[in-house]
């Protein structure tokens, strides 16, 4: 069986990380990834860009609406996710609007943070900024 482990955290907590906090968290991720790989259960792990980079897509009566910001409704539950490799946000939105749930719920399009996958296969923080 595949399990998704979804990570939740208040944004101000992760934003206020010191270098040492960050290194500690990174160490934890690295250990977990090494262990899950050693156990043969690792599939993939991704860090998402901050919520400020999010775009919400909804389709109502065939009309696509694209808006700034994350999908903030509280009564909806997370049903699943797609990861697509697109050149631009517009291209990602083109696929997002075709997800059937865009017509009743909403789709949040959030960039995945870029990790340099160096030869050593070691986890690194994204290089932007």
């Amino acid at each position: 069986m595949l399990y998704a482990l979804l990570i939740y955290e208040a944004e101000d907590v992760s934003e206020s990380y010191s270098d040492a906090d960050m290194e500690q968290a990174l160490e934890g991720h690295r250990n977990l990834q090494n262990d899950t790989k050693a156990d043969g259960v690792f599939v993939e792990a991704n860090q998402l860009m901050p919520a400020g980079s999010a775009t919400s897509v909804r389709v109502r009566n065939g009309e696509v609406s694209v808006m700034d910001g994350p999908f903030a409704e509280t009564k909806e539950l997370l049903l699943g996710l797609y990861v697509v490799d697109c050149g631009t946000l517009d291209q990602a939105v083109e696929y997002a609007r075709r997800i059937p749930h865009a017509e009743t719920g909403g789709i949040e399009v959030r960039p995945v943070a870029y990790f340099e996958r160096s030869g050593s296969d070691q986890l690194q923080w994204p290089t932007s900024d």
Binding site: S53, V66, M67, G87, V109
Partner: protein, 411 residues
């Protein structure tokens, strides 16, 4: 060299748009353009204003970027940095140097669509468009929106970060998305214009400057999208509305309704320009909401007085506008025109159609118009009740005084 500042300012948006494409980064493009402008201020008095100021700024900005990359390459031994520039489209670059308009035009169009992308909040779209396309400083934008410069700066920084992080493209949308995306570009321009006319704003000079920036933006848009009649329609609408700027408010800033405005204070030159534009555009027979609203404003613009207005034409134009942009407010405006042509009974029948709308029940002009029609029919108690509803919804003091006078007349 009195023109130096003006020339420099006029050339900046275009130079920025091209530098973004050449360098592939909005913030870097802004930084090197700023350096190029500093150099222009130093050099131009000496060498004269270049024949093609945009090309001069782009070349100087690009050279500055190359210097920056070289320095960084030395410091960080980051050999890859130079490759960014080598990859820049050399063929397009040569065209810029020879001043090929088509390339420049495409750059500016791309920049406008990036700034008005729906994945940015409306506030961010407005701020970014004023900063990059209209070339206003952060202080000027903050002043226009009565915001602290720091707040405005943060809004712009956040918008630029979103463009970069989310991968908002620097490109003109494909034919399928173009009409909708162009509509949102026009909305941003009209939002800026209307912001200049918010009655809550005290400083008339600031308001007029914002409206003028919106008109400048609309002029740029109508040059870029010659084939789109709605773009010219929006420009004409702005010109015709702006023509009434000196007549539409009294000394205290209270709004004066159209029928009470001193028409000698309307700007005849702007009316003539707006009218010529809309007449030419309507001949293309592809009407839309902005063109129709401009046509209505043009009819008012040439009328000597409220009574001498061609109300039949206005009523017909509102009926057409209802088809393109149905809304209770449009129907209310149509009813006001119909009252002048077919009398109050026909106008009241139209109001009955929209009377159930909660927006109209809360709208003081709906009740005030209905009251006036009822009074014309001799229904004093009905008119008084409707004026009283309008009074309950009005906070503006001169308007309250007007309504109170009307109520006392119905006793």
């Amino acid at each position: 060299m009195a023109d130096l500042g003006l020339t420099l300012r006029a050339a900046q948006p275009q130079a920025l748009a091209t530098l973004i494409r050449v360098l592939g980064d909005l913030t870097l493009a802004e930084d090197v353009l700023q350096e190029a402008c500093v150099r222009a201020i130093g050099k131009w008095p000496e060498i004269g204003i270049p024949e093609n100021p945009v090309a001069w700024l782009v070349a100087t900005g690009r050279n500055h970027a190359i210097d920056l990359f070289r320095r960084r390459a030395l410091e960080e031994r980051h050999a890859g940095a130079m490759a960014v520039l080598d990859e820049a489209d050399q063929a397009a670059w040569n065209e810029i140097e020879t001043g090929a308009d088509i390339v420049l035009k495409d750059d500016l169009t791309r920049l406008i669509f990036t700034c008005c992308h729906p994945a940015l909040s409306p506030d961010a779209q407005v701020a970014l468009t004023l900063k990059t396309v209209a070339g206003l400083s952060v202080e000027e934008i903050a002043h226009a929106f009565l915001a602290a410069p720091r707040t405005m700066e943060q809004r712009i920084v956040r918008a630029k970060r979103k463009i970069r992080d989310a991968g908002i493209p620097y490109e003109v949308p494909g034919p399928a998305e173009l009409p909708e995306r162009l509509t949102s570009v026009l909305q941003v321009a009209y939002l800026i214009f209307n912001e200049g006319y918010k009655a809550s704003r005290g400083d008339a000079i600031v308001r007029h400057e914002l409206a003028q920036q919106a008109i400048r933006l609309a002029r740029i848009l109508s040059r870029l999208f010659r084939a789109e009649p709605e773009v010219t329609g929006l420009l004409a609408l702005m010109l015709l509305q702006h023509a009434r700027r000196d007549a539409r408010a009294d000394r205290d800033g209270a709004l004066i309704p159209l029928d009470e405005q001193d028409r000698t204070r309307w700007d005849r030159a702007l009316i003539a320009e707006g009218r010529a534009l809309i007449e030419k555009t309507l001949r293309r027979k592809r009407p839309g909401p902005y063109q129709i609203q401009a046509a209505i404003a043009a009819v008012h613009g040439v009328s000597q007085s409220h009574a001498e207005t061609d109300w039949r034409e206005i009523a017909a134009l509102y009926a057409l506008l209802e088809k393109y942009q149905p809304s209770p407010v449009v129907t209310l405006n149509r009813a006001v025109a119909v009252a002048q042509v077919d009398g109050p009974r026909a106008a009241l029948e139209l109001l009955d159609v929209i009377g159930d709308s909660p927006d109209m029940q809360r709208y003081r002009y709906y009740h005030a118009s209905r009251a006036a029609f009822l009074a014309d029919l001799g229904d004093r108690s009905g008119a008084r009740a409707a004026y009283e509803r309008a009074l309950l919804l009005t906070e503006n003091q001169p308007e309250r005084a007007f309504l109170e006078k009307k109520i006392s007349e119905q006793k």
